[in-house]
């Protein structure tokens, strides 16, 4: 089956620059400080975030900066523990993925570092706004708090990395932790359409498509396997000084630097839309909570 039809529609009926339907439910895990179920097309992720006191053992371990990946950041960012569980029925063929599975380890490392960057208040350019401290659930500042995050991949159909990041952002946002920036993520296909003869003809027949609009935003599983994916996580600060700066990026396809730049720009457009959606959801939730608590 072709990735794109002659009418310029993808397999699931989207145009090249359309995102899948997103759905975001906050507070799905009772007992967690913040939790979120994020659905994007057929990809579904649940992230939950617990703030617990830091155990003595971990505190002493954290104090000795052996590797010191971010020696300066360690002072402001809380200790983050993150676990990803990839459920066996997430993909079409059932597959158990243990703790040492390559994909799980990869995802875990990337999410953990993204969460650290998010919670690291010093990464914000403007210190005074974030450091004013209105954390409701025991502001996880200083070294005496630990943030435990659990991410479950319930269904995987492309864009798992991006969806995990978005779910994580919602969970952290709902827990109302002090964070430097919110991070949103979106992916696009890494390779352009038009490599094969059929695709070239298809693009020619449409005519009105100008060059370079051949990257597909927010690819699903089939598109990812065929064309590769570039997933980009950017800050969603309203502040222009830090507007859409790249927190993490992962691209494992063959590209020229020019194509790379274009793909990053395409992703950034997608991120903008995701950011708008997530902010509205969080804001809705916060107003609801505020209304209830004020009664």
């Amino acid at each position: 089956m072709a990735i794109m039809s002659y009418e310029g529609l993808r397999q699931d009926g989207r145009r090249w620059n359309e995102l899948r339907r997103m759905q975001c439910d906050l507070g799905v895990v009772s007992g967690a400080d913040g939790s979120c179920s994020f659905t994007c097309g057929r990809t579904k992720i649940i992230a939950s975030c617990f703030v617990v006191p830091l155990s003595k053992q971990k505190a002493s371990a954290a104090r000795v900066p052996t590797t010191a990946t971010a020696a300066a950041a360690a002072s402001t960012a809380p200790h983050v523990e993150l676990r990803v569980s990839w459920l066996p029925f997430a993909t079409q063929e059932r597959r158990e993925r243990g703790r040492t599975d390559r994909q799980v380890v990869d995802l875990e490392g990337m999410l953990k570092q993204t969460a650290c960057a998010m919670l690291d208040a010093s990464s914000a350019v403007v210190q005074k706004q974030t450091a004013s401290g209105r954390g409701s659930s025991g502001a996880a500042r200083g070294n005496n708090m630990e943030v435990q995050i659990k991410v479950a991949v319930l269904q995987a159909d492309g864009g798992v990395r991006s969806c995990c990041v978005n779910a994580l952002t919602c969970a952290i946002g709902m827990a109302n932790l002090v964070c430097g920036c919110l991070v949103v993520s979106c992916g696009c296909t890494a390779q352009q359409l038009g490599r094969t003869l059929r695709e070239t003809r298809m693009l020619q027949s449409r005519g009105e498509e100008e060059e370079g609009k051949r990257l597909l935003l927010d690819p699903n599983g089939a598109e990812t396997t065929k064309l590769g994916e570039l997933s980009l996580s950017v800050t969603s600060a309203a502040d222009r000084r830090q507007f859409q700066d790249v927190v993490s990026i992962n691209c494992e396809a063959k590209l020229t630097p020019e194509e790379f730049e274009e793909a990053v720009e395409t992703c950034a457009e997608g991120c903008r839309a995701v950011s708008k959606f997530l902010r509205r959801k969080l804001l809705d939730y916060m107003t609801k909570v505020a209304t209830i608590s004020s009664h």
Partner: protein, 465 residues
């Protein structure tokens, strides 16, 4: 090993020097990388029980500044992977010394391992289909062991160079597939009831080895980012990034909506990117970016995990820099591999013709000192008197190699007398146009003049029996 405390104390100094004076702890500028030295060698697999039958492996040692890494490639015949019947297998392991692991951190090692895995294995750098011997049954299995010997930052780049160089210069022995007539042939395929075929390894001395098919050679280039302080000093540092400013401007133009762009630019955090960071720089940086590109200039991997958020335009800049650097590295590795091939070919020829000298891995380890082009004495040889098996493969190969090495045809080379040995004339060699075979043949004659083919072969190929 630099400890955390020391780095914490020096971090401010390091950062200031880099930001203000574009000078790093070893005197480089931000865009300068440390010299890379590559050493390649063929050696016998050290872990093998039987020393005389140990397979040959290729080892590449790379030093980037004080960081050192070695990569070893070895091959053996195994069953094909269960889900891919037409492919061989390729496995990659990264490990480092025990005490280094403590200092270096499990995470970083894993990260390096995953990056290499992605680049070489999942990026299909190696052609696996050519490794298949009997589909569904037997295939070559290539194993790449990367070992970090010393770490002074930028371990990943050193590992990648070592891995690529080792894969490029590795020569696996050829195999011979036979219908399973004699199971005791020494082939690895024996003992499988259903299989009618068995493969046995033809030693490298007997037949020319086969190279691995390497589709592309990716090189990683790691960068670390240091944020410039937001207040002031921007104009003074602007010349640090000669290529960077325009790339960053494009990022600005997209992000800045309208109006006061200049103001936003002033307030926006600027970053200085240092290539090939040392350990101290790595541990006090704000963000790390790993890019990988192959020698053709394609970007193969771009990875940034967490850290300070970086402007989007800068990533493109880093991608371009990585491509340039990878091309340099590619040219260097290519040249090294080629000269190594030349060298090892000469060595093999020398060892063949001078078996006792080549007992060890290095040729000329206490033997006849005779350069290849040198002719000791020439005398005519009558062809009928030799009575040899002219169709011996090894001979034909030696001939073509000797020819490649630049010897004149139709000469008999006599080695000079060995200093210690009793035999005055160790070996004579003759090349001539074969009457029936058509190709060039080489015959050798021992001192006693016995000259049976088996004897001859043993004399020429010491490892084979």
């Amino acid at each position: 090993m630099v400890t955390g405390g020391l780095i914490a104390a020096n971090a401010g100094v390091l950062r200031e020097a880099l930001l203000d004076a574009d000078c790093r702890e070893d005197g480089r500028s931000a865009r300068e990388s440390r010299p890379v030295t590559l050493k390649l060698e063929h050696c016998l697999q050290p872990s093998h029980q039987d020393k005389s039958r140990a397979p040959q492996v290729t080892m590449a040692s790379v030093a980037v500044g004080k960081t050192r890494a070695t990569a070893t490639v070895s091959a053996r015949i195994e069953e094909t992977p269960i889900d891919r019947a037409h492919e061989g297998s390729f496995s990659l392991f990264v490990d480092c010394d025990r005490e280094l692991e403590l200092a270096f951190g499990q995470e970083k090692q894993q990260e390096a391992s995953r990056c290499l895995d992605q680049l070489l294995k999942h990026g299909r750098a190696l052609d696996l289909e050519s490794l298949c011997i009997v589909p569904g049954r037997l295939a070559w299995s290539i194993r790449l062991d990367v070992r970090v010997a010393e770490s002074d930052g930028n371990v990943l780049d050193a590992c990648a160079v070592a891995a690529v160089a080792a894969m490029k210069s590795f020569v696996r022995p050829d195999h011979r597939v036979s219908e399973l007539a004699s199971p005791a042939d020494g082939g690895e395929g024996e003992g499988e009831g259903r299989s009618r075929k068995a493969a046995s390894i033809v030693p490298l001395e007997e037949r020319e080895g086969v190279r691995l098919t390497v589709h592309h050679s990716p090189f990683t280039v790691s960068f670390v980012a240091f944020a410039k302080p937001a207040e002031g000093g921007e104009d003074g540092n602007a010349d640090d990034e000669e290529g960077g400013d325009d790339a960053m401007d494009t990022g600005e133009r997209v992000s800045g909506d309208e109006g006061s762009d200049d103001e936003a630019e002033d307030l926006r955090a600027n970053f200085v990117y240092a290539i090939d960071a040392t350990l101290a720089e790595e541990s006090c940086c704000d963000a790390r970016v790993v890019a990988a590109a192959d020698s053709e200039g394609y970007l193969r991997l771009m990875r940034k995990l967490g850290g300070r958020p970086l402007p989007r335009g800068d990533l493109t800049l880093l991608a371009r820099l990585a491509c340039v650097r990878a091309r340099e590295l590619g040219a260097y590795v290519e040249a090294e591999c080629r000269s190594f091939d030349e060298r090892s070919r000469r060595e093999r020829v020398r060892r063949k013709h001078n078996p006792k000298a080549g007992a060890g891995s290095g040729a000329g380890a206490g033997g006849i000192k005779l350069e290849l082009g040198q002719v000791a004495a020439i005398r005519p040889v009558d062809e009928d008197a030799l009575g040899m098996d002219l169709d011996d493969r090894a001979m034909a190969e030696a001939a073509s190699e000797a020819e490649a090495a630049g010897e004149g045809p139709r000469k008999v080379v006599e080695m000079p007398a060995r200093p210690g040995a009793g035999a005055a004339r160790a070996k004579g060699r003759k090349r001539r146009q074969g009457p029936g075979g058509g190709g060039r043949k080489v015959v050798a004659r021992g001192e006693g003049g016995g000259g049976s083919p088996a004897h001859l072969r043993d004399a020429l190929a010491p490892g084979y029996r």
